[in-house]
């Protein structure tokens, strides 16, 4: 048994610059800069020099890798954490393990096919990706949707928001040790997924919302199904209150852990529950209303302390608000077309294809060549369960996007993780990661 010589370079693998370098390999000035970078705050008032303890020598600290294969990192997130004892000094998320070049793929797919691609990004909130992409295409086309299409989108998006938050409840509970919560969260989510499957035919990557409307009208009996969901979920949410919210162990694990201030959250481009948990009232549904959210009555849930518990509480109560929204949407659902009657965008109905040769040709052309979108560029942002999901779309006048970029909420929110983790305990890291609710499919795209 031989003790290896003292490692000079503390880098774990040969990947080089993406990793966090050891203190011994870093000059003090560079280290300060890196601390600023890791903290993701500019030097200046927000970074107090006395706050950054660069006097710690390299021998006393240790850099450990958490992930990419770690059950609590929700996929393939890798964190490099510098520890002094049990205290976290620096954290650096290393991402890209799930990168599949979806933005490049998006440039090779027609606008009709595009939804099948974007729906796989943030796989817990697929309808929001489809929705934002479709809205961007529609803005480029300058077409107006029939009201029913928009209301259907809103209904399904709110259901999707609940199902996404339920996964958060499940995984967050599991990460802090309340394993039974995982079973409950996934059980409730299954109800919603069953309904989404009834609508779209697919449980997860629905490809239901498409440019020009939605793929199909709501199925028969949808009102009863939605009513059943609206009846069941709130009672279950009250059970979660008993199980988690008021439970002393859960509170101990989450309160005061991973605190983020409002200034930091805004500076770090955080959106969604991460931003709202700090007390900033910012919800695109209310503040920059899109679709028909301005006709609905709902509250924007905000937290106070910006800690892990607040992020949990914001999401829990957002589900209640979503149920409230769903009830209103069901009441206001108009009748009419579920997709725009623009023959350049919408394929002819199945019945017409049987009868008319022209309709068949038209259908064939739409699905092989797609429709051409006028030249231009547009950015659309909507409120997904994780924050602002945006689509920047450039068209050169052909049938495929020239540039398709999705601004994913988890990608931006992940930047606040080092700030939340700093000074905390390594044992709390799992709870903090979980509270950001990153979905690596969206982060890496």
């Amino acid at each position: 048994m031989s003790v290896p010589a003292e490692p000079v370079d503390r880098r774990g693998t040969s990947e080089g610059g993406q990793e966090m370098s050891g203190r011994s390999a870093t000059a003090a000035a560079e280290l300060r800069r890196e601390e600023g970078g890791v903290l993701r705050l500019p030097e200046g008032p927000s970074l107090d020099p006395g706050d950054v303890n660069i006097e710690v020598s390299g021998e006393e600290t240790m850099i450990i890798n958490m992930g990419p294969q770690h059950p609590s990192t929700h996929g393939v997130l890798r964190l490099m954490i510098e520890l002094e004892g049990e205290t976290v000094l620096r954290t650096k998320p290393v991402i890209g393990y799930l990168h599949t070049g979806m933005e490049k793929t998006g440039e090779e797919l027609t606008y009709i096919q595009g939804c099948t691609n974007v729906t796989r990004m943030d796989y817990l909130a697929p309808l929001f990706n489809e929705c934002v992409f479709s809205m961007a295409v529609e803005q480029l086309l300058e077409i107006e949707l029939p009201p029913r299409a928009t209301w259907i989108r809103m209904l399904l998006c709110e259901l999707n928001r609940v199902s996404s938050h339920l996964v958060f409840m499940a995984t967050n509970g599991m990460d802090v040790g309340a394993v039974s919560m995982m079973i409950y969260g996934f059980r409730e989510r299954e109800m919603i997924l069953a309904f989404l499957e009834k609508c779209s035919g697919l449980r997860l990557n629905h490809n239901y919302i498409r440019p020009g409307g939605v793929a199909a009208d709501l199925p028969d009996g949808w009102r009863e199904d939605v009513a059943a969901i609206c009846e069941r979920i709130p009672t279950r949410l009250d059970e979660y209150d008993t199980l988690l919210t008021g439970q002393p162990i859960f509170q101990e694990r989450t309160q005061g852990v991973g605190v983020l201030t409002p200034e930091q959250a805004i500076a770090l481009s955080a959106t969604g529950p991460v931003l709202r948990s700090t007390g900033v009232e910012w919800d695109l549904r209310r503040d920059m209303p899109y679709q028909f959210y301005d006709q609905l009555d709902f509250d924007v849930v905000v937290g106070t302390y910006g800690d892990t518990f607040d992020r949990y509480a914001v999401r829990l109560n957002e589900m209640r608000e979503s149920i409230k929204l769903i009830r209103q949407i069901v009441d206001l659902m108009p009748s009419g077309d579920y997709r725009v009657q623009d023959k350049k965008v919408t394929p002819p109905p199945r019945q017409r294809i049987n009868e008319s040769m022209e309709a068949l040709i038209h259908h064939f052309k739409l699905f092989t060549e797609g429709f051409r979108v006028p030249e231009g560029e547009v950015y659309v942002g909507i409120e997904s369960p994780r924050g602002e999901v945006g689509c920047y779309l450039v068209s050169d006048g052909s049938a495929k996007p020239y540039r398709m970029h999705i601004r994913d909420a988890s990608f931006a929110n992940l930047q606040s993780l080092p700030t939340m983790m700093r000074g905390g305990l390594i044992a709390d890291a799992v709870a903090v990661i979980s509270s950001v609710d990153p979905v690596m499919g969206g982060v890496d795209r």
Binding site: E15, E107, L268, W282, Y392
Partner: protein, 175 residues
């Protein structure tokens, strides 16, 4: 199939003098405000916008206009191969603005917004990774999505997509 490479300069029929915002020409795209500063003024314009109340940097991304050089731009803006597109949000006035800055291919570098918006850090790294646009004064300009030893920048238009010809020998390339 598309003839994107030969798209002529579009007939820019509405040709009033471009409106200026902090000295940079403005345009609207589908009703959205866009400001086009040049590279030298970029940081100053974004700083002025931030001081004006655009306190949330929603998105930074790159774009490569290699095969679509004739896109509509306001008068006085010289089209270059690359563009850096920044989406800012003014939370108080509840509006957005988009900043598009032209970056030439020969000297693909532009100032980093890190000092103004720390949240642009990962997004600029992504633009660097995907397009090879260098952000000067960025604290940690390394690849973020691709492996460190990757060659090339995947979202560039001249980056091969690794297409495998299978069935139809004469099939045209997808773009």
């Amino acid at each position: 199939m598309s003839d994107a490479t030969e798209v002529p300069v579009p007939d820019d029929a509405p040709g009033p003098e471009p409106e200026l915002l902090h000295g940079a020409p403005m345009s609207t795209s589908r009703g959205q405000a866009v400001v086009h500063p040049d590279r030298e003024a970029y940081l100053a314009v974004v700083k002025a916008l931030r001081d004006e109340g655009f306190d949330l940097c929603a998105d930074v991304c790159g774009a490569d206009y290699l095969s679509h050089p004739g896109r509509p731009l306001p008068e006085g803006v010289v089209p270059e191969r690359f563009e850096v597109v920044v989406n800012l949000v003014n939370r108080r006035e509840r509006r957005r603005i988009r900043v598009r800055v032209q970056v030439p291919a020969t000297d693909a570098r532009v100032a980093s917004l890190f000092d103004l918006y720390p949240g642009s850090e990962a997004m600029e790294r992504e633009a660097f990774d995907m397009f090879g646009i260098e952000f000067t004064d960025h604290p940690d300009l390394t690849r973020i999505l691709m492996p460190e030893d990757w060659e090339g920048h995947p979202l560039r238009k001249d980056y091969s997509v690794g297409r495998i010809p299978v069935q139809f020998k004469a099939a045209a390339a997808t773009r």
